[in-house]
Structure formats: C-alpha cells, structure tokens
Subunit: 182 residues, 2 copies
C-alpha cells in the first residue's frame, strides 16, 4: 500500500479490474501525501475500524480481531477551512451499485452536510474518475428507487478529476469547483 517513493513514482502498471479498489486507494493516498507535502490540504484516510477480541499483552500483539463496518466515510480532513469528507467507490460496471453504501453512512453524509461540511463520492468508472457532490448524490437517491447510479448521471452531474500514477487522483481542483458551486 505504501510503496517507497522511488518505486511508487515509476509504478505505471495499467489498472487491472481485480484489485481496482486497492488501486484507487493508492491513487488517493498519493494525492493526499502530495497535498500535505505541498501544504495544500490536510486529508487522511481514517484507520479501518477493527474490533479487538483477544490481546497478548506480553507481546503487545492482537491475536483475535474482526473488521467492523464503518459508520462514516473513509477520508476526512480540512481544506481552506472547510471540513471535507468523502468515500472512494470504484466499479467495473457502467453504473455504481448503491448497495455498498450503508444506510448509516447515508445518514452520516446528510448530517455532515447539514452542519456545513463538504461531502462527496470519488468514483472510478469506465476508467474515468469523478467527484459526485453530496447534493447530487441525494438528488439522485431521493428522486427514484434505482439500486445503482448510471454512468451518464455521474458524467453529467459529477466533476471529472485527472489521475495518473505520479500525482494520484488529483481531486483538489475538482473540490474547488464543488466549493464554488455550493
């Protein structure tokens, strides 16, 4: 996940569908590190929530634990004084299935927006990457009962974001657009 710098920066294998989730996570990590290093934004991936059951204290070692489902989105931080929170979603279909966004996550998104935070989904679809602003997400799910968001909606309502293996998913200009339009 964290390649040493020299390896990471020459790493240019094309995206394979098999480990696309990891690829997108890598691309976001690269961008976030770049934003911190260049004093642009302070945004981190939250640690994955893990429930610890057993611990061997003599060795400081956890011996039984389980992944828990997160109740918030994966990334958050501060940009130009704004609270920013987003989730990364990738799909190898021509639509984004909605079943991998939990109800309590949707409630959380609505809550954060109500309190003045910026919410979006960062979606990798058809080898393109888009910011789908929180209000566009809610407009979609509130206006119909579909179980997925079609590519066309994401393309029309989203903000396209460039990505490459050097800079990662460079979403900050897209975020500026989102802030201006808000």
């Amino acid at each position: 996940m964290n390649y040493p710098n020299n390896i990471r920066k020459t790493y240019n294998k094309p995206i394979s569908y098999g480990n696309r989730g990891m690829e997108l996570e890598n691309l976001i990590n690269i961008a976030n590190e770049t934003y911190i290093d260049n004093d642009i934004a302070v945004i981190y991936k939250k640690p994955t929530p893990i429930g610890v059951v057993k611990c061997d204290y003599s060795k400081n070692k956890i011996t039984e634990a389980y992944y828990k489902s997160p109740s918030t989105l994966d990334y958050n931080g501060v940009y130009k004084g704004y609270y920013v929170e987003f989730d990364a979603k990738n799909t190898n279909k021509s639509y984004l299935p909605l079943n991998n966004i939990a109800n309590h996550q949707i409630e959380h998104m609505a809550r954060v927006m109500k309190h003045g935070g910026i919410i979006f989904l960062l979606i990798m679809i058809n080898n393109e990457c888009y910011i789908l602003p929180g209000n566009k997400f809610f407009e979609f799910i509130n206006s119909n009962d579909r179980k997925s968001i079609p590519y066309e909606y994401i393309k029309e309502q989203g903000i396209m974001v460039p990505y490459n293996y050097l800079k990662g998913v460079d979403y900050i200009k897209g975020l500026d657009t989102l802030i201006k339009e808000n």
Copy 2:
C-alpha cells in the same frame, strides 16, 4: 466502552485514577453521541490504527495485528461548518507531561491550524476539565523548554468545561468560546 443507554445513564461511579484514560474517553463518547442525537455537531473518535499482519480469510478473522501510533489526533468532525480536531489527555499529576504528544502529532496540529481547522486538547487535570486551544498550546511549547504544562497555565489559558456522567464532557460551549476568541 459503549454501554447500553439505560446502563450508561445511571452509571455514576466516581473517577478512579487507575482507568482514568478510559473514563475520559467514555465521557467524550457520551458527549459526542448527545451532540449527534440532538443535531448539534458531528464529531467522532477515529478508529485506533491497527496494522494487520495475518488474517484467516475463511473465518474473516484477524489472527495477528499490532497497535500503531496515530499521526493525527483522536477526535475530529464538523461543528457550525468548522473543521474540529482534538485529543483527550488526562493526568493524575499537577501538570500535563508533554512526552505523550508525539512530534508528528504536533506537526499535524500546526498544519491543521494553518489550513483553518480548529485544534485543541481536552485535558482532565485535578478533577477539572479544560479545553486548551491550539494557539495556547503552541505559545507554551514555543516559549520554553519545559517537558510538561503546569496546571496553572492550563487553568489560566484554558476554557473550563463541565462534565458529569449523564452528559459526559459537555465541551461544546467551550468550543463556542474558542471560536469567538479566535
């Protein structure tokens, strides 16, 4: 850590020094849940970062993992549009030792403040609870080489916060004061 509501709300054991860290965490959890339930703020404890070494995928069970040291503060979220991040510190001494705040955490605090986020420490000391605003923290560490912050400094420069076992550490009015003075 998460008591069922009925148990939690009648829980009034006095603070014991032995598990004070956990007590403070409980008091903050209660406050944060109250703020979410009453639509006041959306602030969460971040999951503890854990490095997973071995996983039994057939049982979805993690069999070897280790706690990692966090590079950010423990709590963050959004309040009135502000990005808010803080750490809980408790001490049974008449001062707050600085050796349990890592250098990379201090760098992170400075970075977040620079980008317009609100940073503070929530300190339990002498059975009193204080918000120590980020700028007061930096004023202290930049003006001398002491390895701890004395109670008197925290009392003078901090904002006292009420707490009880029903409402937890009710820090939101203190946060309002911090925002006004900023």
